[in-house]
Symmetry: C2
Subunit: 412 residues, 2 copies
DNA sequence: GAACCTTTTGTGAAAATCACCAAAAGGTTC
DNA sequence: GAACCTTTTGGTGATTTTCACAAAAGGTTC
């Protein structure tokens, strides 16, 4: 009996729900157990008192994203990930969060989940804090079991996803069936999303990415995997009015969170077009790879481009370069300008490119080149003469623009 | 002796030169014999009196182009090609042409050449006109022989040219050697020039073309041939400051002459880039064919384009279409605009295309579409919204322009 | 037909462009 | 170094373009 008082959790229990009730009884307050991604694993039922945040969590079987965001902002979650001690959280009315105490569940140096105890009418004492610590210790093996089972499932996910990405599964029915067997509902429309990291993704980063993806509630993520320095995600694009904008927001938010919460910087996010046909996953993936390779060659020009469709003519560069090569074409106008530049130490080509980049805007271009607007005008006139170019002809300008970019593409 | 007075030209003569002297002696004035293309065949030497036009003709071994042009303008040559009678030409001081009489040399209903008799101090009498007619009759067989010999040579030209055009002769030394064996000096730079006629080129038209090409002195024509409705010309681009401009002028002048002199209309002239390497004749020829096929599909847009290099992005269309096809790409922006157009009976796509065609010029576009400039502005705003397009981004605009043209290209 | 939305047109002020001119700076040629 | 050419910069004013706003017109929905 003494040992039970010292550690009331040294009992056998079948399910996590049962265990949540045990904790609840010992501490005399409602209890919730979450995994490390804030998915609800179990909650006590003996105590009816609760707060809106807990209700939402139970209803949605996960902690609402705004609550997670808030807990990150004011430091609770970072603290939980740092220490094994219980943490007290003051109520935050805006998100319906009452006073509560939380503790993280550790297995060696990895956090497996959290236990939350609501302080509805009472405040937990120092002694009860120690009990909570013991509870966290007692539950860790149970969580680990769940984890392992999930890992197996995870592996099956991985295999399936890679088959899709590489186009090794291209019978429609087979794909759908596989989705269902993995208990995923394939959304009617999807996109592939890739985040390219600075270097290979470490295990720790993997955890953090996984955490962010699992806690995100903005977009439904069907599958994801990690490949060297890339995080590849299959995301649903359904039920959204403007999917592209939504995806843009998502990647921005994701990048921001990685930086803000985990200090991971210099992420390059990209995403494919939106498709309905799951046989096109490979194509979508290739699109993202194209975007990445273009962004690598034209970091400045494509700074604000994440989306394949927004690449504009950049998506053609690779292709056009090949054509140019095979027919060893020379753009005469550019050639003349180059010769002139060489001979007179001028910058007509550079000027032309800046002008074209700036959508024919004299002022912007002059500013970018740090020259007087009239100087620019003069140069443009010379360019037209020397290169025999009609700068009012969109056709010619387009060709020049393309040829300039093709050459850059080639030389990089 | 009587017969000699009746027809003093019924004598055997070895060369045309000899015969020219005979005529000169009979008529007592300087005589020149030309072929139908105004190339000098022979001239009398017994009489020293002459005029500047004749001197130029003898020096250059052909009638100067400005003289020919003048003789066309005031009707002499058309008349010579019509009648077998001698024609009197009054002196034309601007081109150094003194008074003279001309007659055409006929073989059945084909003109083989001309005889010119200068009226330096005397005026030819009616009797001498009859003599001239007899001279023309006497010389025709000699000319025919030359013609035939030339035809054989012509055939060798043809064969050689076609080998070059089709890339069946691609050893540099061999090509040069062939040129020399045909007594052509290959110019260091060249271009291929093609005129496409309305229908297949008739024999008569062939004569007329040949005439125009041979009398042209602006550009040196190395080889030419006729293929169904195409006249294909290998032209020198040397010794000209601005060859492309020169070529443009030439084709314009050629077209104008065909129309003005022979009533041949609706000629489409095109020409290739300028090359130095004669192994590239085939490539140059293919360029012209590309220009022709594009001009057929986009007659309006390419109205003023004759030159491959001036095709701008049109030269890529064929190529891009293939790419688009193989990856069944859909431009989302255009798709949204099309859907909107369909649903609301609007013309956003058409508006966008006009705007892009007009180099982003609001006024010009509005005029073309017969709408108010503000209406256009409003539509553009809507286009940006609906198609999720940034109309300040040259990249996106370029892609839209290309995709629009690709679609047009495809549907034609 | 009222209420509502989209589209077109008109107006005027602000901004940008363009065609000039002129001065100055930099380079090349003889 | 003088003469010459090209390039840069500045300024001016006419012209065009852009933009915001308002009114009118046309359609759709209830």
């Amino acid at each position: 009996m003494d040992s039970l008082i010292n550690d009331p959790f040294k009992v056998a229990f079948d399910s996590l729900e049962e265990f949540a009730d045990v904790i609840s009884e010992v501490l005399q307050c409602p209890v919730t157990i979450e995994d490390v991604n804030h998915r609800l694993l179990a909650y006590s039922t003996h105590d009816e008192r609760t707060d809106p945040a807990r209700i939402s969590t139970i209803i949605g079987r996960r902690v609402p994203e705004k609550v997670i965001n808030q807990l990150w902002k004011e430091g609770t979650i970072p603290e939980l990930l740092r220490t094994q001690q219980p943490i007290r959280v003051k109520n935050i009315d805006e998100i319906g969060l009452g006073n509560r105490v939380a503790i993280s569940i550790w297995k060696q140096d990895v956090v497996l989940g959290f236990i939350w105890a609501l302080e509805i009418d009472k405040t937990l004492s120092e002694k009860e804090f120690i009990l909570l610590k013991k509870a966290a210790d007692a539950v860790k093996n149970k969580l680990l079991q769940l984890q392992t089972r999930k890992n197996n499932k995870e592996e099956r996910f991985q295999e399936f996803f890679w088959k899709l990405l590489t186009g090794h599964m291209n019978i429609k029915e087979e794909i759908i069936e596989h989705f269902h067997s993995l208990q995923i509902t394939p959304s009617p429309t999807f996109a592939i999303l890739v985040f390219k990291f600075q270097g290979n993704i470490t295990n720790q980063e993997e955890q953090q990415i996984s955490y962010l993806l699992k806690t995100n509630q903005r977009l439904k993520i069907m599958l994801y995997t990690i490949d060297c320095d890339q995080l590849i995600v299959l995301v649903s694009a359904m039920n959204i009015e403007n999917p592209i904008q939504e995806l843009s927001h998502f990647v921005e938010a994701f990048r921001w969170k990685l930086k803000d919460r985990f200090g991971i910087q210099e992420i390059t996010p990209v995403f494919s077009s939106i498709y309905e046909d799951y046989q096109k996953i490979r194509k979508a993936y290739n699109e993202t790879l194209t975007v990445l390779s273009i962004k690598e060659k034209f970091p400045q020009e494509t700074k604000h481009i994440y989306h394949y469709q927004k690449l504009g003519m950049f998506q053609l560069l690779h292709f056009l370069l090949e054509k140019r090569r095979e027919e060893d074409y020379v753009n005469q106008s550019l050639h003349f300008l180059r010769v002139y530049d060489q001979k007179h130490n001028s910058n007509l080509v550079e000027t032309l490119e800046a002008y074209l980049n700036n959508d024919n805007n004299i002022n912007d271009t002059a500013k970018e080149l740090n020259i007087h607007a009239n100087t620019l005008n003069y140069r443009l006139k010379r360019i037209a003469e020397i290169g025999d170019i009609n700068l009012k002809d969109p056709n010619q300008k387009m060709m020049l623009f393309l040829d300039l970019k093709i050459e850059k593409f080639q030389s990089r």
